[in-house]
Subunit: 269 residues, 2 copies
């Protein structure tokens, strides 16, 4: 398996990259055109076809990546546990920031579809930072993005009934992929399962349920048309504002926090 997965070539078309760096990379937002121009000469452009591995967990290549267009999944595997997809990244997102902390890649990054990305050597980041410390802000923004996506994954995609989580996943994919609502490219059932932490069978069954409800229509394998209802639905099921009668959705509630401080302090170390 020679794995001719990802191939990178030095940039030729400067204007193209410059445009990319400015609009999608908040990373370089604070830099001067001169610095950006310098950087682009050291940034390679790459194409990763579906299922190709951009980098694998544990590797220590000295580079990070930004996505120009496409979708990438980050797979995490802990020793005694099933592996899970912990993030889906789309246009403008940054992969491999952990290399800046000196850690090996913590995930395996795989393209969900043909993806166009830029490979930025760590040395370029360090050089830019030396020249212009304002790069710090861009880096902070990128890290914060990662954490926020991770937290969304926990609070939205890993909590509650599978059907609702699936709906949220579809919305998320539409969001980050930029696919038109009538031709959304959803992950395979296996991937959906790894994203939601469920079995492929449950994924299949719940996809079928959405299809029966007319919220989703398969127009081709992997290609779906989603109803506006599905896309809008932030939450409000248009009924049951008070004393909800939802079939199953209690779980815990961590409101009632602020009030605590004054009273209650029975036992403590």
């Amino acid at each position: 398996m020679p794995s001719p997965c990802v191939q990178f070539v030095r940039h030729r078309d400067d204007s193209d990259c410059r445009q990319c760096a400015m609009r999608s990379s908040a990373l370089f937002g604070d830099l001067r055109p001169l610095d950006i121009e310098w950087a682009t000469r050291h940034i390679d452009n790459g194409r990763a076809v579906r299922d190709s591995v951009i980098y694998a967990a544990g590797e220590t290549d000295d580079a990070l990546y930004t996505i120009r267009v496409g979708v990438v999944k980050l797979i995490m595997q802990f020793p005694g546990h099933e592996s899970r997809i912990v993030r889906l990244l789309g246009r403008g997102a940054t992969l491999g920031l952990e290399r800046l902390a000196g850690k090996p890649y913590t995930h395996t990054a795989v393209a969900l579809r043909t993806t166009n990305l830029c490979r930025i050597p760590l040395s370029v980041i360090h050089e830019l930072h030396t020249v212009n410390p304002r790069l710090l802000h861009g880096l902070m923004v990128k890290w914060e993005e990662q954490v926020l996506w991770a937290d969304r994954w926990i609070a939205i995609l890993s909590t509650g009934m599978i059907e609702r989580r699936l709906c949220d996943l579809v919305r998320l994919v539409v969001d980050i992929s930029g696919d038109p609502p009538d031709a959304v490219q959803l992950p395979s059932n296996g991937d959906i399962a790894a994203i939601l932490g469920i079995t492929p069978e449950s994924a299949s069954r719940n996809m079928a349920k959405l299809k029966r409800q007319g919220l989703l229509t398969r127009v081709a394998p992997w290609l779906y048309r989603c109803s506006p209802v599905l896309l809008a639905e932030t939450d409000a099921p248009d009924d049951a504002p008070p004393a909800a009668s939802a079939t199953q959705s209690k779980l815990s509630d961590v409101r009632r926090q602020r009030k605590a401080s004054t009273a209650s302090r029975r036992r403590d170390d």
Copy 2:
């Protein structure tokens, strides 16, 4: 509700703080003693009793925090969803990094027990960074920590049977709190529920199950003695290496990745 939750006082005991900054804060690891000494003069020390709010989501106070001793929970609340605890932070951890990206606090941070923490104004970070850009590395390390904890939360605490997740949670608490194994202070059932994304009833039932198995013994309300078996158990149930017969633990498997690259490329945009 005047909320006399957290009170901060300027440091008096320099040596104490310096020691703290060096051992627990990789943040300042790369700085010169002189810079650290300067920084400590602008860092306040605070005490948060159990259930007190360190900061609330949406606030924009210009400071971040590091924990000297104690445990803090980060609560996240998305509009139409139940709130979940997305992280538990212990000694040496950093809270509120998102302020460095210019974002309001994304979580509500609440002390799980009496907690001792340092309040670092953003201006101190910026000043230090100007003086010594090597601070960048410390910041990268802190961000990477946040992401790694978040990913663990997804892959370990939000996947699979509740009983196993509970065991992992106990191990995690022991880990970050530093409690002795025979006197571990576990979160309330409500908090356990918000951590694992389950109901308090399920939390209670599964805690009872662990107690029945002798893995956990309550020595006082909220205080437990955990058996060495529970603490060791990385995963291997000492049986079933091949064709496992576990009662329920299939889920999906995202192995078989590497091989993909060469073959398979049926449809793509």
